[in-house]
Subunit: 405 residues, 2 copies
Amino acid sequence: MKYEFSARAHTLLSSPLLSIRTQTRRGSMISLAEELPAEELFPLSLLAEAAATVISADASALQYGDPAGYEPLREWLADDWLRGKGVAVAEGGLLLTTGSQQAVDLLCRVYVDPGDPVLVETPTSPGFLQALRMQGAVIIPVEGDREGLLPDHLRAQILKYRPKMLFATPSFTNPSGILWSLHRRREVLELCTAHQVLIVEDDSYGDLHFQRSGESPARQYPSLYALENESEGGHVLYIGSFSKTVAPALRTGWAAGSRELIGMMTAAKQMADWQSSSLNQQVLHHLLNVSAFDLREHIATLNREYNTRLKLMAELLKRPAWKSSTYHMPAGGMFLWVSLPEGLEALALLKCALGKGVAFLPGPLCSIEGGANHIRLNFSHPGRDELLLGMNLISEAVSEFTARS
Amino acid sequence: MKYEFSARAHTLLSSPLLSIRTQTRRGSMISLAEELPAEELFPLSLLAEAAATVISADASALQYGDPAGYEPLREWLADDWLRGKGVAVAEGGLLLTTGSQQAVDLLCRVYVDPGDPVLVETPTSPGFLQALRMQGAVIIPVEGDREGLLPDHLRAQILKYRPKMLFATPSFTNPSGILWSLHRRREVLELCTAHQVLIVEDDSYGDLHFQRSGESPARQYPSLYALENESEGGHVLYIGSFSKTVAPALRTGWAAGSRELIGMMTAAKQMADWQSSSLNQQVLHHLLNVSAFDLREHIATLNREYNTRLKLMAELLKRPAWKSSTYHMPAGGMFLWVSLPEGLEALALLKCALGKGVAFLPGPLCSIEGGANHIRLNFSHPGRDELLLGMNLISEAVSEFTARS
């Protein structure tokens, strides 16, 4: 049969993301391309116990659940916010999703019509770009520096395009690893509030903050959602996830915002898949609330280990192959965003690297144009040996190219 | 902030489905409105064991998985089909989803543009209508009788509207419980194939076949997908689910079709939420493949029990309040589709019934127009006492209305 796909379905296939993922799942490929957490740090035995307990305790654990998600887990999140960050979540203002990507997609579906202008950081998350393209948004980049988005450019783009939304990741932007300064956070919030631009704040990486200081990072670098919370204007939709801090296979993310916005997203969620796995949500809740698991301690362990891996990767980038490369050393997150020697294109390098058995994310996936000479390297997943081998193979590929030119 | 939702977001709120669900989850409400399986028949201890084993065995069980779903479970499904129904699934022709509803939604997103005409049975599943409305489809009803869709009307609607798709549930149509005859199945497949109309076949209820005969129901009433499989034309997208046969909270459904169609849906799936819970898929696979669980035996147990409940409900419909009601006695599924006494409207009756503490699904949710004097009653979830009490309360409500008129 000759299929007649919908007008924007082809946007889904234009990205090489799917094929990189498929390739890296095969056998011996080393992947620095994805955003995988370290498996060896998963709280396996506590999760196994939680799952067995939850299933055995009550048959209703396996029944259909609430489209908004398991209520006690939503309450746990609201409490955690109030205690940890002094932020009060609106009643009815939380929705549990299948990871943070579903929150992004649901919001796009209820908020974006084809042709609507939407602002993104440049570079930005490939997942944002995919969801926006599928919805037919006109994607407008906003430039930034090491402190975050540039307020002057943001203002200019707002006045020029009258966008409906801004997608941003103020804490460890994917892929650049930038941590916005407090001052910049305030300026962006103020500008967007003044011009009725809804901010979608992805905070999936915010807890992966390696810097150890007296004050908690959440207080030092408050989310835009927390900053606005004092005025409760509903200009920020916050997106979080347990994928990086507990385990991805539980597929539990969430969105927090005004009751009106979350209500609409919940209706879309019900239409899209009725609800995410309430079993997984119950297991998470048991882990967080009943078992001996301490999320803050666990995150501290992750951060110590990830910081070690980041330093190793930075060390390996001092080798001759990378002598004309530059990068910003992030204070957290999962990625290094590295510029390639002049004239070397990320997609050409990727092809060569895949042939050697290693993958990374090529820059062009992270912006609507440009990024051709950047690559994103993940340091959270590979262990020491894998990281050494993977970086050796990429270095080899880089050297081959630079020797030729 | 004043939100500017997308043009079709309001279609999500126009349905009272969400509020019925929210109300029936509260305390003492008896719900005959939903499509819940019987909790007391869930294989709890085997599932608890499977979950603990899977999580303890391998940390990768908790890592990100394949967007198409856990491969061994896809292989199990393909094997099961080959053995049970003689049907060969195409290589790359299976996608695991978050329940069957996500398969419906993903297909709509990659196949329907606003204004595209799409055929549905009348009455049909509220979930189909929601996904189609959100996508902006022009929904065209096709009439049927107790044997299935009427070929003459189907042909007339195809010629008049040139639709891209037909949504159908040949085995125990939601809500009417109709089981299409083999002859009618062949005719519909032939018509759609001739006119390049993609058939979306929801077989979520197909295994809930109560009739006991020598031949297996799957052979006696083959799915349209199985019927076409001989020619491999790719005109049928098959949708199935473990929600009714194992447990809904595992949120595992699937779509089967041509490699091209499933490939596009998998790309949409990755954009929408990367992947469903591979942990749940692994637990299911362990249950089906390794543990002492026997799916066929389990389904036979469900069918015996559901048949008993159906008969009890039919018995209760013999009471005086229902004397002018009619319904077709289904051979399986989860629902009775009952006409109300003349002049009695389902939505008015629902309001009264909710006041008494019982819910059902009002007919208008199951078609684009009409259905005002029908209600859908679920018999699979309530136990004997709950069923008696719930039916008493609805009967009371009906009597109050008919006494008045």
